[in-house]
């Protein structure tokens, strides 16, 4: 008789303790890992024509889309100087993955056409971002500070 009474006395205690624990079920819509938007506003991309001042400096990729992203370019960096020369590095798949580096010349032509080593690359800008597009992919680059 004393044991059931003791259990009954413990019930409020246990209930009280567990009541402090909130339910934390992950909603279905929250199961997927949210992709990093890189600070871009997906609802209102305000791209504008590119000007020469947009190009100079250090940029890192925040999004790569298209076939180039699939096969498989993970990260790209570019540094463009005032002298029309640029250098870049990109991490690509391999065994093991490795950085590729390159250097070349660029020139801004009419209607936001960036010529990189003879290749015409449509480009545009938005705040601190650049978007460069080719037939096999698009990259959005964000200006990175040099500290």
């Amino acid at each position: 008789m004393r044991l059931p009474l003791a259990c009954a006395a413990l019930v409020p205690l246990v209930l009280g303790a567990t009541a402090c624990i909130p339910s934390n079920v992950v909603a279905k819509r929250d199961r997927a890992v949210e992709l990093d938007s890189g600070g871009l506003d997906p609802a209102n991309p305000a791209w504008r024509p590119l000007v020469a001042e947009d190009l100079e400096g250090l940029y890192r990729s925040v999004r790569i889309t298209g076939d180039a992203a699939a096969s498989v370019l993970w990260m790209a960096y570019y540094f463009a100087g005032k002298d029309g020369k640029y250098s870049g590095a990109a991490l690509v798949t391999g065994a093991p993955p490795s950085f590729q580096t390159l250097a070349g010349r660029f020139e801004l032509q009419e209607e936001s056409i960036l010529v990189m080593d003879g290749q015409r690359v449509p480009a545009r800008a938005m705040e601190r971002y650049l978007e460069l597009a080719t037939h096999n992919g698009t990259v959005i680059l964000e200006r990175a500070p040099i500290e």
Binding site: S23, G66, G88, V92, A103, A133, V139
Partner: protein, 377 residues
């Protein structure tokens, strides 16, 4: 007659000679030649100093005339010299610009040559690597960077023209891209890409991206429900997304000890008492097939039932999980699915406190995975 005439001639010559000698003898004493200075006007004697002074005066006049002439001509000469110098400077400047331009062109050509050289080297390495694997045969060095397409290690297929543009892009007015011909070495903004390319309708190997993936379970208990989640996932699978049934296989491993319910004490009990992660650190799903699968190349989506074996708590049982997959704009495969399982099937005792607060035996397990082409990792 002839002799007569000759005699007369000789006689005449002798007479002329004798006559001349006699005449000279007769007058030689009567002729005198005298040489003397001519008298100056007014019989005045020549003054040498005056002559010098006159010469100096003449010279002075000449110098003054020359100075006057130079005074008028020097500015014209200077102007002409300036004009010639300017013209020459322009010519030199044009020449220098031409040299600079040619140097720049050569610089660019050298850089392209260096790039081409790197491509040739990569192509040669690829060919050599293949040559080691394949039957012996001659290795052919490509003659040009863009001469011959580099056969991919994974079969490549292009998207058909009927395929619609990608959905989910941020910009409703995507940037216009000029059409370009395919090149031997696939490049993207001058970077050389690995030979494999995404293809919806070929058998390809995918690799889980842990940082973009989650698996978990939802459990119900007497008082409050909770989920356990982890991103410590490894694995790869292969599939022909256009025909996944019969072509889909893989293995996915989850670190059991990384499942997090959001409550440390509950995690500890789950890991130690219920999952026994020291003895069974991994939860493994062997994917054997995708049944009743449907595929749409136009939207790059796949759905069906993943079938395989789940090893949990040291117990392996067959499971089926309805899944949906979609290729995103970065050519990653996004896979979602969920199913129910009973803990008791895996010899896991459902947690209970004093018999009053208990967790249900059935839990829902779910996956939210992103995978990308596995190239050489």
């Amino acid at each position: 007659m002839q002799k007569l005439l000759s005699g007369i001639g000789i006689l005449g010559l002798a007479v002329w000679t004798v006559g001349g000698a006699a005449a000279w003898y007769a007058v030689k004493e009567k002729v005198q030649i005298t040489i003397s200075e001519a008298p100056i006007a007014g019989n005045r004697r020549v003054d040498r100093v005056s002559l010098v002074e006159e010469a100096v005066a003449g010279l002075r006049q000449d110098v003054q005339a020359l100075a006057r002439a130079l005074e008028t001509n020097l500015p014209a000469l200077a102007a002409e010299l300036d004009r010639c110098a300017g013209k020459r400077a322009d010519e030199l400047e044009r020449t220098l610009r031409g040299i600079a331009q040619r140097l720049a062109e050569r610089d660019a050509a050298l850089e392209k040559l260096a790039t081409a050289s790197r491509d040739h080297r990569a192509a040669l390495e690829t060919l050599l690597a293949r040559g080691e694997k394949a039957a012996p045969g001659p290795v052919v060095m490509p003659t040009a960077v863009h001469a011959e397409p580099d056969p991919p290690t994974t079969p490549v297929a292009k998207r058909t023209k009927a395929d619609p543009p990608e959905k989910g892009r941020q910009d409703r007015n995507p940037i216009a891209v000029p059409a370009q011909r395919e090149t031997a070495v696939r490049r993207f903004l001058s970077f050389r890409l690995p030979s494999a390319a995404f293809a919806f309708d070929n058998n390809q190997s995918f690799e889980i991206i842990p940082s973009l993936s989650r698996v978990g379970f939802d459990a119900k208990s007497t008082l409050h429900d909770f989920s356990g989640v982890t991103s410590k996932i490894e694995g790869r699978f292969s599939s022909n997304l256009a025909a996944p049934a019969g072509s889909t296989k893989g293995r996915i491993t989850v670190a059991a000890g990384s499942l997090d319910t959001g409550l440390a004490s509950r995690n500890e009990a789950m890991h130690d008492d219920h999952l026994d992660v020291k003895a069974h650190p991994d939860i493994v799903f062997e994917l054997e097939d995708l049944r009743a699968a449907t595929s749409a190349a136009s939207t790059m989506t796949v759905s069906g039932t993943a079938v395989g074996k789940l090893m949990l708590h040291g117990v392996t049982r067959a499971v089926e999980m309805p899944v949906r997959a979609k290729v995103d704009e970065s050519r990653r495969l996004f896979v979602e699915g969920e199913t129910a399982l009973k803990l008791s099937d895996y010899e896991i005792q459902a947690p209970s406190k004093l018999g009053l607060i208990s967790m249900e035996d059935e839990v829902r397990i779910w996956i939210s995975l992103r995978a990308r082409l596995g190239v050489g990792r």
